[in-house]
Amino acid sequence: MSKKRYWLLLPALILVVAFTACIQGAGPSAATKEVIIGTTDQLDSLDPADAYATHDWEIIRNTNPGLIVYQPGTADMVPGVAEGDPEISDDGLTYTFTISDGWKYPDGSELVAGDFVRGINRSLTMEGDVSFLVSTYVESVEAPDDKTVVFHLKAKRGDFIQIVSATPYGPLQEGQFPDDELVKFPETLSGVGPWQLTSYKENEQAVLERNPNYKMGFSESAPDRVIIRYFSDPTQMALAVEKGDIDIAWRILGPIETARLSTVEGLTADNTGGGGIRFLSINHDMEPFTDKNVRKALAYLVDRDEIVDRVMQGAVEPLYSIDPPGFLGSNEAFRDMYGGSPDVAKAEELLAASGYSADSPVEFDLWYPPEHYGAQAAQIFEVLKEQFEKSSMVKVTLQTQEWSTYIKALTNGEYPIGYLGWFFDYPDSSNYLDPFAQTDFAAGMGIFYSNPDMDQYLADAAASTDPAERADLYVEAQNLFAEDAVCIPLVFEAEYAVYRSDSVGKIVIGPALVFQYELIELK
């Protein structure tokens, strides 16, 4: 009997131990300087020939910089591993990069040009998710000697320097990845960059240690170790940074949570200046959107200000062109063409011209993923439905689907109209227009828009190396984009990081959303 009573004490014991645990706290050891970064992202793949998600790229870029990199905190291109700008042949088809000295892997071996060839060829042959970013532009790549990388392009590109900054163009040490197989989750990941990934536990944390042989060295206040902590939702992450469980809350905090946290004492919000555009992606192959009048009617009915102010509490910006502000030639084509506010009369005029009326309204399913684009997606679409149905000639049915299924179905053209976000792979207007308006790419996105004039503008702009000429062409392209109502741009959502002022002095992210961990200044 006494035995039985004894085990009843167990819970009490647990409580006591737990309580002592609280009092003692879990103080960090002082020997090494750690920084803990929270994220709600997940790693999808760490294989550079496959990885095509922002968080994946962030880890890969921190372990392995490319020939061309971003000037920290900006979207400008500067030579990274390359010694300087490439030599470009007269026909614009051959780019020759020279590698600078002193880049070493953590094991001490020296970077050679062949590592780039290995990495890029692997991207070309493996057919990973990101392969198109190489195979579209690059015919072949070679390394005549250990210091020289030569690219042969399929066609002239005015923006190839930007394209080379993408992660599939990075070097690959021999033996890091097998030649014939994609390995999404290697045990460790290293390169010539400042960091090496030493452990990754899904939904728990990833640990990055310094590369002792990093060419550029580390500043006095740089962290010794970076821990990335994975959260299942932004609310928990916000609470954790507010409480001090983590030092930095990074993607994807969401604009509204950021706005609140920035008013909390001891927290600093860092506006990266970069972010994603959000738009309605329209399938031109599916009824009723084969009809240009219907697309234009929707463009007339959308009220971006209401989405910005009512749903997002002013934390995002209205977007009037698929090419966001700050990029070459960016304008406000949709405001110029459809006005800054909804115009039901004009929309109904167009719909009536196509034979729709209040009795036989245009009906369609409007799709969105419930979580992927932030917690407010459901509310944005509740409001969008209201806006479209301000006209009695429109009848909208909202549909949701989980992200992974959603994105495949949308890009396969299974939905008539859906929500899509975009962040550039390389910082150029071409990366905002080509994917949605160029015939081949648009088909791959499930948009199926095709207009020879548009293709011509885009091809000319890509091949040109004169910025003024390119800017003019992109203005033309944007106007045509609005005129054809290819897609309907909605808002621009800036990305923020929030850090604790008591432990972190400064972080450098920049509009390209490249978070360079070695530039974190700890206090």
């Binding site: 009843l8 999404k184 452990s199 728990e204 939702d233 469980d245």
Partner: protein, 367 residues
């Protein structure tokens, strides 16, 4: 051959169960022996039925997993390759038997999304995390619930009884995730004494060698005391949340059991002998009433698991529940199917073991 941790956990727990069965089998009466045999034999079809239901439910998914993964424009060769990889090119009954034999061999295939990770490895990281959450929660809920329930029974039809019963109904009615959020804001952020989410301090985590992935055990094995304290510290809020939801059920069930025992003859006899009421309640009645509570643990195990799904999501706890919810979001059907299978098997085994313990402890059970 490398044995995955999940296999380790499974085999060792099965081993313990087998030892117990053997012990009960040898010590028990003839009737008990045949009961054990029947009960064990009955568990197999139960597992089989659950596993079959899961298999066929997952097969009626609208749409083909291959299309949902590759898209309709993928070439036929690529599709065929993927179908082959998933075994979907076989007739359904072949798939079914392959699935069954996979379960027996503890080979659940590889994840549909995360190509090169065997699901068994993934689950072997997740299952221990869930165990680490539910075992202390269950212990806390049972301990407090039985004590409070007995107390209520002792004071039946007096205010402590009514208060405790009211309490038990109220806590049962609280949505788990809501309670978790409130704890995070008040105890976590407000008082600042408990961490918001996760299993262990990120920095201490680096120093901890994980063998079983039950962090308390790992830190005990390696003598890593900061890790032990940190793991316990992180455990408090999720455990409290889950235990509070469950405690009501245990208060109610043990109260009923004690009351039922109290009206029995031997208790009346004890009372007649002039034994103190408190002694009667806590010694004679409770000890007998505890026996059926064992079976209740078996039944409540499923409530515990369901609560764990929501608790894990609320506290970013990387256990089975969070895994299940995440993989459903990613349409990773092989992973979902496997996770549910593991849930089903653990439920079946737990209920078998508790039934046998009950039979072993209570001589009145008729076999």
């Amino acid at each position: 051959m490398t044995v995955s941790p999940l296999a380790g956990v499974c085999f060792s727990s099965l081993g313990v169960a087998l030892l117990f069965l053997l012990y009960a089998f040898l010590r028990g009466s003839k009737g008990l022996r045949s009961y054990i045999v029947t009960r064990v034999l009955l568990t197999l079809p139960m597992v089989l039925i659950l596993v079959t239901i899961i298999f066929f439910v997952m097969r009626v998914i609208p749409g083909d997993p291959v299309t949902s993964e590759l898209g309709p424009r993928a070439s036929e060769a690529v599709r065929e390759q993927m179908r082959e990889q998933l075994g979907l090119n076989q007739p359904i009954w072949v798939q079914y038997f392959q699935y069954l034999s996979g379960i027996v061999r503890l080979d659940l295939g590889t994840s549909l999304i995360f190509g090169n990770r065997p699901i068994v490895d993934e689950l072997s990281e997740r299952l221990p995390a869930t165990l680490e959450l539910i075992i202390p929660s269950a212990a806390l809920a049972i301990g407090l619930g039985v004590l409070a329930g007995t107390f209520a029974a002792e004071h039946r039809k007096q205010w402590p009884d009514y208060l405790l019963r009211l309490f038990s109904v109220v806590v049962y009615s609280i949505p788990v995730f809501w309670l978790g959020l409130i704890f995070q804001v008040t105890l976590g952020l407000g008082l600042g004494i408990f961490p918001i989410a996760g299993r262990i301090d990120p920095i201490i985590d680096i120093s901890l060698q994980r063998h079983t992935n039950i962090l308390i055990i790992d830190s005990l094995i390696s003598g890593n005391w900061p890790a032990l304290l940190s793991a316990l510290h992180y455990l408090v809020l999720p455990t409290l949340t889950l235990a509070l939801i469950l405690v009501g059920v245990f208060i109610r069930l043990s109260r009923i059991n004690v009351i039922e025992t109290l009206v029995q003859d031997y208790i009346t006899a004890a009372r007649a002998r002039g034994i103190l009421e408190r002694v009667v309640v806590y010694r004679h009645a409770l000890s007998n009433a505890l026996i059926p509570v064992v079976t209740l643990i078996g039944l409540q195990f499923s409530v515990l698991l369901a609560g764990a799904v929501l608790t894990e999501t609320t506290f970013s706890w990387p256990g089975m529940g969070q895994y299940l919810v995440q993989r459903i979001g990613q349409r990773d059907y092989t992973a979902v199917q496997s996770a549910i299978t593991v849930f089903a098997m653990s439920v079946a085994v737990i209920s078998m073991i508790t039934d046998i313990i009950y039979a072993f402890l209570d001589p009145r059970v008729q076999y």
